[in-house]
């Protein structure tokens, strides 16, 4: 058998996965899978994915998984870990699921300091439904519902998720923004976030800047460019809240 670089926690029987060519979800799930491998929590973890392209990960991991409703993955995972606190719940969702339809869950779960990890894939659009505006769509960006470019005066500026979450969580929360263009860093964020949950310490939230060449209508070059220039200039990568136990140095 030829071995690939797939993390152990990936289910090889369901690969190649169902995401589009060049889709950032693949990157995110790889970093997440490696983090799970590293801290060896495959047997304690429960993975929930949202409706949105994230649903394509419903059979992704060698981990008990559930695909929920659009925006509702957070409450499902909260329900699970409240009923069985020994489990580590990961809620995996898009920017639409997390910042639009599920914003009340994100805000209140963060506020309650629920012991789960929320991973939010920011691809500046509604991927699964064919590329409409998301709360994170950049000013001027053309989407199916902003055919003349997003007019920030009419529809606002892109939602700053980690900033928002960090503003309301307690000191035991872990909040970061990573990018698929730096997988090592992203993995490090995931590890810290998962450990924070594992230790029963606090709510953990990682937003990831990710590619969606299908709806961006970009070739490989422009895909990286949009991610690393356009998106990165709005969304600052880094750690927004690090619990005392996880601070370095």
């Amino acid at each position: 058998m030829s071995t690939t670089v797939m993390p152990n926690s990936w289910n090889i029987n369901t690969k190649p996965h169902k995401f589009c060519p060049g889709c950032g979800h693949g990157h995110v799930l790889r970093a997440l899978g490696e983090a799970i491998d590293d801290i060896d929590i495959q047997d304690r973890t429960v993975f929930g994915c949202d409706i949105g392209c994230s649903l394509l990960a419903w059979d992704f991991f060698n981990i008990d998984s559930i695909q929920t409703h659009h925006g509702r993955t957070t409450p499902v995972m909260v329900g699970i870990v409240r009923a069985n606190p020994s489990l580590i719940g990961i809620a995996y969702m898009g920017d639409g699921g997390g910042y639009a339809i599920g914003a009340q869950h994100l805000v209140n779960s963060a506020n309650r300091n629920d012991k789960i990890l929320v991973v939010l894939v920011n691809n500046t659009n509604y991927g699964m439904t064919g590329g409409q505006m998301a709360p994170t769509t950049l000013p001027g960006q053309v989407t199916e519902t902003t055919p003349y470019g997003r007019d920030a005066l009419e529809t606002g500026a892109p939602t700053q998720g980690p900033e928002l979450v960090a503003a309301i969580t307690g000191e035991n929360a872990y909040v970061a923004r990573g990018t698929v263009s730096n997988l090592r860093q992203l993995k490090k964020y995931f590890k810290k976030a998962l450990e924070n949950v594992q230790e029963g310490n606090g709510f953990s939230f990682v937003e990831v800047l990710a590619t969606c060449p299908t709806n961006w209508r970009t070739n490989a070059k422009d895909t990286w460019k949009f991610l690393e220039e356009n998106m990165a200039s709005y969304f600052k990568v880094g750690e927004y809240k690090v619990p005392p136990t996880k601070r370095e140095g």
Partner: protein, 367 residues
């Protein structure tokens, strides 16, 4: 930890308190809830009792969250429940539709209040449509409409058991009157009564390393092709239809020789029963049919009864929500139907008696 209910005892309490105790008696593990009148006191009592018996509670940010978190609790293998009413019940239809699809035995107590919209916080029977057939599905649910505090207790226990046995979401359908009134009932430990408690099982987070010791569990509600969905749905529907006769329950009184049968459910059936007795005293031959399960509806039973007595009077605190279920059940039979529809307000036995007496015999009894 102490058992919540040791021995049978007569108590005198409000319906909301009864539901909290019923859930305890049913060995419920965790409640997820969002406040709404008139069900609030279920949460109030549960939050007071829960810590004493090692139970949990989570107040969520809304009913969507309460419903989906309840699903989460079930997936973790715990008897999980919630309670709601009115606009909260409307929102609950989203998680319930997922529970219906994924065969998740969530239990929800519903204390109906006036509708549509916010309406009143008081009382109605206007949540029948929604509780039986709400959401974008086919109504694969179990709905118990209770009439007394004793039943609130009994059917809370049964709702948990049948939800987990058949894996359809189950509802205790009460109302604001039942929620807030006090009356006596007998509480008991179901296991001492010989009621076997159906054991919950874990869906997610089972023993062993997935992919190594066992296959991972993958649960989903989205399908890519129509045919796939059809193949998932049809066996579910067939199973629902198959087990329905086991689940259906009704109560009837004096139907054998009745000229007219009053059909009503829930608390209104108490007024109907009083009316039946009163009218019988006066020699007017009236019977009562009361569906206890609104879903599945006791179709066989009502058809049987109405074959010999094809005159019915529907009485409900809604504008024909029970009537729709009855019409469906009695479809094809030549029935003469009268109705008292009082959406959002209570109905007394006096009103029913008055109505029946006010009609000419031919109007009501068209044998």
């Amino acid at each position: 930890m102490e058992k919540p209910i040791q021995e049978e005892k007569r108590v005198f309490m409000t319906g909301n308190e009864v539901v909290a105790w019923g859930a305890l008696a049913a060995q419920a593990d965790i409640m997820y809830g969002y406040p709404i009148t008139p069900q609030n006191e279920i949460m109030h009592y549960w939050t007071r009792l829960a810590p004493k018996y090692g139970k949990s509670f989570l107040q969520t940010e809304d009913e969507l969250s309460a419903g989906f978190a309840t699903i989460g609790g079930v997936l973790a293998g715990k008897r999980s429940f919630s309670a709601t009413a009115g606009p909260g019940n409307t929102l609950f239809q989203e998680p319930i539709s997922m529970a219906e699809m994924m065969r998740i035995p969530m239990v929800v107590a519903i204390q109906q209040r006036g509708g549509p919209s916010t309406a009143t916080v008081i009382y109605s029977q206007q949540e029948v449509n929604m509780t039986t057939y709400g959401g974008n599905g086919e109504g694969l649910r179990i709905v118990y409409s209770t009439a007394t505090h004793q039943e609130l207790f009994d059917y809370t226990i049964k709702a948990f058991n049948n939800a987990w046995k058949y894996r359809f979401p189950a509802f205790i359908l009460g109302d604001g009157y039942q929620a807030k009134m006090r009356e006596p009932l007998i509480m008991y430990n179901p296991e001492e009564k010989g009621i076997e408690m159906v054991k919950p099982d874990v869906s997610l987070g089972k023993e062993g390393v997935p992919g190594k010791d066992r296959d991972p569990v993958y649960l989903r509600n989205a399908y890519s092709m129509e045919e796939e969905l059809f193949e998932v749905l049809m066996p579910m529907i067939e199973e629902y239809n198959k087990v329905s006769p086991e689940i259906e329950e009704h109560f009837s009184l004096g139907c054998e020789d009745a000229d007219l049968i009053i059909v009503s459910h829930g608390i209104v059936s108490r007024a109907a029963m009083a009316a039946e007795e009163e009218l019988r005293k006066e020699g007017i031959k009236v019977g009562l049919f009361r569906p206890i399960t609104l879903r599945p509806f006791p179709e066989g039973a009502i058809r049987e009864i109405c074959k010999s007595t094809p005159n019915i009077l529907i009485v409900e605190s809604a504008n024909g929500q029970l009537a729709r279920l009855v019409k469906e059940a009695l479809f094809g039979l030549p029935i003469n139907m009268q109705a008292i529809f009082k959406p959002g307000v209570g109905i007394t036995s006096e009103e029913i008696i008055k109505f029946i007496k006010s009609k000419k015999t031919e109007e009501i009894i068209a044998k």
